[in-house]
Symmetry: C2
Subunit: 337 residues, 2 copies
DNA sequence: GTGAAAGCGCTAACAA
DNA sequence: TTGTTAGCGCTTTCAC
């Protein structure tokens, strides 16, 4: 019925252990033997039994992707990362499982422990905002489970992938400045998220470089959600001297800003320019379409998983890869009125 | 280190086999013995090793969720289903893996076979549109892999969950009729998707019941994407006698219709009413917010997985569960001009 | 109702 | 460089 390693060994005229060596790319096999075994595997369409492998070898060939589905309004972001992680795992014949965890819940660590003792993942991929949740990282190190992160805040000794969000934010604000805007507002994301901090810092950097003093009334707190964008914008548009442009820390909030503009009878981009960050599918579907920063989430997930796998498989060592950003200039930004 | 079944047996003063019986809810254990074993498991925080279980027992305790990420523009839909499936699997201590497959690709079946022989899932959950892809179903039956579906077209002998989409579509068109609309257009989804057929049928049923003859010019083909909605609407709005309301077969297309309305200088809902189907997060973020049909995707994923699991675990038999729909009346629909 | 022995398919440790 | 032996943690089969 099922082709076993032993069957391949018999066919290739070697011992089971040698087949195992070939299967695991171990040393100490001559090239000719290796080839002979490979041919036999191919011919018999041999598929190693994952449970037998992990039981005997004490490794699971499993990568778990951890995320917080509470603090992530834009689930397309996670879906794209997941796609990328999956692609990388598939390519290396690892399997992947997904694990929602909520930082706000008291049983975060208990659930993490359950994951580890139930499934024994060889490593995990962390997504914002849990990339920097200290109790999590501590527990992973104690349990000796390697991890790679997408957009981690602390970057020393961390594997994964990042983008220079601060530079990207600065660039998009400079785009507004170049259009002649001077009263530029910013809607901040959830406090303590790395993304919020970087994007705010980029905004400040651009404004300062243009010689503009920060008007505290123009910097308002949001929470990455559409509703928080609406609320923030209502505040901004009620100001006696309202902004001519709003840079929201993500696309969902930018959408909320555009909604609020409608409520106040302001035309985008004629009366007010609006831009966001992320380049979610939504941003292209709005009218006018949203100027934003492209984040290649899928690619980032793939890279993070690859770094983890290269760490696990011992080929050299995983790194923290930095990828470039790109601005998507669309209809929601125009010259200052 | 790790607590094994044998350790539990020793503590409870029984044989390993008896612990195994308790673990698997088998018969032939007295209640007192069962209780004693349970207590020992609890006390030692025993976690069975999944690989050992599946190697010895020839089952994987694994459910795979299959989807086509090609034909699914709204990935939040899949993400929500996934969340529900995961919840159900967790509750029954099954693990879940996700598997993108593309009907358009030639290697669909090869990739399915790879999934089966690599991971041996005990069952799979199917999502639209692959719920009715004949070669897939055939292969699953041959390989003896049970499946449950979300919104399958063929419903005889199928496990899973469904909603009466035709009635829902009829209801939303009746809402437009009640507002005084008579020239109501419909934008169809991808041909052959069950969703497209049901929603079109509901539209026709409502129009016919209102005594209105179908105007073929008002029924146009789309493809579930934003862009296809724009294109369809441009055609409709160019008509000499344009519709006063448009029912698009999903929210993404409805968004495209709203975009096109802007291009033609038409105000929604003043000049034209627009409604969709699905109640994606997007639908609440538009301005005006979209009238649509709520589909509880997460719940549907959970129910489908539960039906599969109840089939797998032999507790009675899985069924095809029908769940109710609900209309979300928002700002994009109003009285006919 | 319960237990003893054998073995699932693979790899670790050691030997040759 | 290659093979042998033992065993991973559980379930099966079959005996009691």
């Amino acid at each position: 019925m099922r082709v076993r390693l032993e069957d391949v060994a018999r066919k290739a005229g070697v011992s089971p252990k040698t087949v195992s060596r070939v299967l695991n790319d171990e040393a100490n096999v001559t090239d000719t033997t290796r080839e002979r075994v490979r041919a036999a595997m191919e011919e018999m369409d041999y598929r190693p039994h994952p449970s037998a492998r992990s039981l005997a070898g004490n490794r699971s060939f499993l990568v778990a992707m951890l995320y917080d589905n509470n603090d992530n309004p834009a689930s397309t972001y996670l879906a794209e990362i997941q796609d990328g992680v999956l692609e990388a795992c598939d390519a290396h014949r690892y399997s992947m499982m997904v694990r929602p965890l909520r930082m706000r819940d008291g049983d975060f660590i208990r659930r993490l422990d359950a994951l580890i003792s139930d499934h024994h993942p060889d490593g995990v991929v962390l997504t914002p905002p849990i990339t920097d949740y200290a109790p999590l990282l501590k527990r992973l190190r104690e349990a000796n489970v390697p991890y790679a992160s997408v957009s981690p805040v602390r970057q020393a000794k961390t594997l994964g992938v990042r983008m220079d969000e601060q530079q990207a934010a600065r660039a998009i604000v400079e785009h507004l400045l170049a259009l002649g805007h001077r009263r530029i507002a910013h809607v901040i994301g959830i406090a303590n998220h790395g993304a919020s901090r970087w994007r705010l810092a980029g905004y400040r950097e651009a404004m300062a470089a243009a010689g503009l003093d920060e008007d505290p009334a123009l910097v308002v707190q949001g929470a990455f959600t559409f509703a928080s964008g609406v609320e923030a914008a209502r505040h901004l548009f009620s100001l006696p001297d309202r902004p001519t442009a709003v840079f929201a820390a993500n696309d969902d909030m930018a959408t909320g800003v555009m909604w609020a503009a409608g409520e106040y009878g302001l035309k985008v981009p004629h009366d007010v320019s609006v831009c966001g960050f992320d380049d979610t599918p939504l941003s292209r579907q709005l009218w006018p379409a949203l100027t934003t920063v492209q984040q290649p989430s899928r690619e980032m997930g793939k890279i993070a998983a690859e770094q983890l796998l290269s760490e696990l498989r011992g080929h050299g060592t995983g790194k923290l890869v930095q990828i470039p950003f790109s601005l998507q200039i669309r209809g929601s930004t125009a010259a200052a009125p």
